[in-house]
């Protein structure tokens, strides 16, 4: 293999790459997926009760409510508009505080307090807001509860927040789109448009072309993986080990991409194969989301051996020493794929019928 020729093909692919929408796709999609996943899953499963407050006097309740963690508070001035927002379920409940409310409570009176509840709010949400409202009013009255609450958190060592469980999903997309799609579709496209024939007329041989495609895919996959991890603040305590598994993962998916790219006769066949086999390589990302299901199933997917270490390092604070098994299997897969890529490359070269 001539490394200079490999370099020339890499430079050619990098020069022509920006013209392909796939490169844009590989760069934009992981970022978009990270943002969508964070926005949709982050807020969908972590919705807080929403309380709207109209203070017709000068009560201390709105300020105290706004300082609370776990409740989203908005204030306005128009009781009718608040009622409208409650009815449309823009807030779960509304509180209309009359003028002189705080003074009346401090004087031991039981003043009226309008508490509006949206018909669509959950019973549990109503309970939270009602109990919190009582607490806030008691605070205004100046009464300290004759009790001290001592909080004990149970099971913190095994708990991984949802946001962290999404790390394999976002890293998967970043690495797979750039590392697998890019070399695979580039190979198929070059064969379909016969530009591969033109390259093979030169002294360049198939192994050099495949190496060049792999270098471009691995580089982009690694960069996109690093960006995704940075966006998710998921480098963990051992960034060196994280980068190692990311690069190994990029190499693994690039090898899969090269095998697919050499095998598929056209773009449609390639995408049908990816669509059909996608669930298999996607398994580890899916299983990380649901810790309750048997995790051993994910081990049948080759991608497990780089995604799981990335998850363990980034979300569970694992040490590099505890990941030797995964590293060994990952290296074995990467090594075993090399002859497969070479064999598929030879087959593709023969199919092109331009063999010197």
């Amino acid at each position: 293999m001539n490394l200079q020729r490999v370099g020339h093909i890499v430079v050619k692919d990098l020069r022509l790459g920006p013209r392909s929408p796939l490169l844009l796709f590989a760069v934009v999609m992981p970022l978009l997926i990270t943002l969508l996943v964070a926005a949709v899953f982050g807020s969908l499963f972590d919705q807080q009760p929403r309380l709207g407050i109209v203070d017709l006097g000068d009560s201390g309740i709105p300020e105290a409510a706004a300082a609370l963690d776990g409740i989203e508070v908005t204030t306005s001035t128009d009781p009718a508009a608040l009622a409208d927002r409650v009815e449309r379920h823009d807030v779960d409940a509304g509180l209309v505080i009359p003028e002189g409310f705080d003074d009346a409570v401090r004087a031991g009176e039981e003043p009226d307090l309008e508490f509006l509840v949206s018909g669509r709010s959950l019973a549990s949400t109503r309970a939270v807001l009602a109990v919190t409202t009582i607490d806030l009013v008691r605070e205004v009255a100046g009464g300290e509860p004759p009790v001290e609450v001592v909080t004990t958190v149970i099971g913190a060592e095994d708990y991984v927040p949802l946001g962290d469980r999404l790390i394999p999903l976002t890293v998967f997309y970043a690495v797979v789109i750039a590392g697998m799609f890019l070399p695979a579709s580039s190979l198929v496209e070059e064969r379909q448009k016969r530009t591969m024939d033109a390259v093979l007329v030169t002294p360049a041989r198939m192994p050099e072309i495949l190496t060049a495609k792999a270098i471009v895919g691995i580089s982009l996959a690694t960069v996109m993986g690093l960006i995704t991890l940075a966006l998710n603040r998921a480098f963990g305590a051992n960034p060196g080990a994280m980068v190692l598994f990311l690069v190994l993962g990029a190499v693994m998916v690039a090898e899969f991409g090269l095998v697919l790219g050499c095998w598929a006769r056209d773009v449609n066949t390639l995408y049908t194969a990816i669509k059909g086999g996608g669930i298999f390589i996607f398994l580890p990302a899916l299983f990380a989301l649901f810790p309750g299901v048997p995790q051993w199933i994910a081990r049948i997917a080759p991608t497990y051996y780089f995604l799981q270490p990335i998850y363990d390092l980034g979300a569970r604070g694992a040490s590099f020493g505890s990941l030797w098994d995964e590293l060994a299997v990952c290296l074995a897969i990467v090594t075993l794929l090399v002859p497969a890529v070479a064999a598929m490359g030879r087959r593709a070269e023969h199919d092109l019928a331009i063999v010197t």
Binding site: F25, S43, I71, V117, I134, P145, P146, Y159, Y271
Partner: protein, 359 residues
């Protein structure tokens, strides 16, 4: 535009579609996957926070607190160890535990501060923590004989239809999204078919026959709309989306099919190969999916979301299937959907016509 010619072109497109393994596979896979996903999504809503309690001599008070609110349930345990075990395992649906000391009532009655253990599993939400701390405080105040100055639980005014016990499940919320996603896949399918015809110049071959460009456009519109409509109708039937108001849903889904056909024609006209079609289709699909995503969140969608062409479709499907809204109630959303569908279809036809005439 002549019927027999248009029908012949539609038949040709249908054959091309079923012959294309990729799109045929995707289409079937998507329909099956969406139906399976739908039936895996939870169909009920747990509105209750279940709290484990270990206490002595507070039975009446604890039951009173639970009875006052429909959103709270109490599971009692004989010992602190049992309670801790239940919270750790999440047994009986317990989300947290309150461990009152045996001398709680005496301590508080004597005017002293009692200590109550609040057992929280890692990851419990801040609002649940607020609720539990509030309950402990109210139990202590009740023992001390200090009633709350206000009673927002019994004095609450419920605005709108009270849906406690009949809340919209995640399955209900996902219905518009799944139906819309089926239509979106069709944007891609039609775009690719149009693109292939342009690239392979089969459209010019068709125009060499007595068929005119108007016939081709009509055929593409009918085929795209028909394909999308049949698929979305099938899924709507499977997931029970047609039952609340069949005629209204048929009109909404037909308009939705016309909308995505318009975008499919635009994407197909611009895309020069598979990757470009994929990219342009995604450029349309992502913004169009926003209203379907927004429907998962409570409350009114912001103005910018309401201005997205697909909002009317999502709004009508959501309104009809979950709230049983009538023609009159969804008329605004339906009018907006009709306007966007017409605009997208006209724009798609014009762009495709222009593209074909340049060949």
């Amino acid at each position: 535009m002549r019927g027999p010619i248009v029908a012949a072109i539609v038949r040709k497109d249908a054959r091309a579609f079923t012959r294309d393994r990729f799109f045929f596979f995707i289409t079937i896979l998507a329909l099956v996957a969406y139906a399976v996903v739908y039936f895996f999504i939870p169909s009920n809503v747990d509105e209750t926070v279940t709290v484990g309690v270990h206490q002595t001599g507070l039975d009446e008070l604890i039951r009173g607190v639970a009875a006052a609110s429909r959103g709270l349930a109490v599971a009692e345990y004989d010992s602190s160890a049992d309670l801790e075990d239940a919270v750790t395992r999440g047994a009986d649906g317990v989300v947290a535990g309150l461990d009152f000391p045996t001398d709680f009532a005496e301590t508080v009655a004597a005017g002293e501060r009692a200590r109550v253990r609040l057992l929280l599993p890692a990851g419990v939400s801040e609002d649940d923590r607020l609720l539990l701390e509030g309950i402990v405080g109210e139990v202590a105040f009740a023992v001390a004989g200090v009633p709350p100055p206000v009673d927002p639980i019994t004095d609450a005014v419920v605005l709108g239809t009270d849906r406690v016990g009949d809340q919209m499940s995640l399955q209900d919320q996902m219905r518009p999204m799944l139906l819309f996603f089926v239509l979106m896949v069709e944007t891609f399918a039609l775009a690719s078919l149009v693109s292939i015809e342009i690239q392979e110049r089969t459209v010019t071959a068709v125009l060499a026959t007595p068929a005119r460009i108007g016939d081709v456009l009509a055929a593409k519109g009918i085929f795209g709309t028909g394909l999308a409509f049949v698929e979305v109708l099938f899924l709507a039937l499977v997931i029970g989306a047609l039952a609340p108001n069949l005629p209204l849903m048929l009109v909404a889904l037909l308009l939705g099919s016309i909308l995505v056909t318009g975008f499919g024609m635009i994407a197909g006209s611009f895309g020069r190969d598979f990757m470009e079609v994929l990219f342009i289709s995604f450029a349309f699909m992502i913004p169009l999916a926003i209203p379907a995503m927004a429907a998962l969140f409570p409350g009114t969608a912001p103005l910018w979301v309401r201005l997205i062409p697909s909002f009317g479709l999502v709004d009508v499907i959501g309104g009809v299937t979950t709230d049983g809204e009538s023609w009159r109630e969804v008329s605004g959303a339906l009018a907006s959907l009709a306007a966007w569908s017409t605009a997208a279809f006209v724009a798609g036809s014009m762009i495709l016509k222009r593209r074909v005439s340049t060949l």
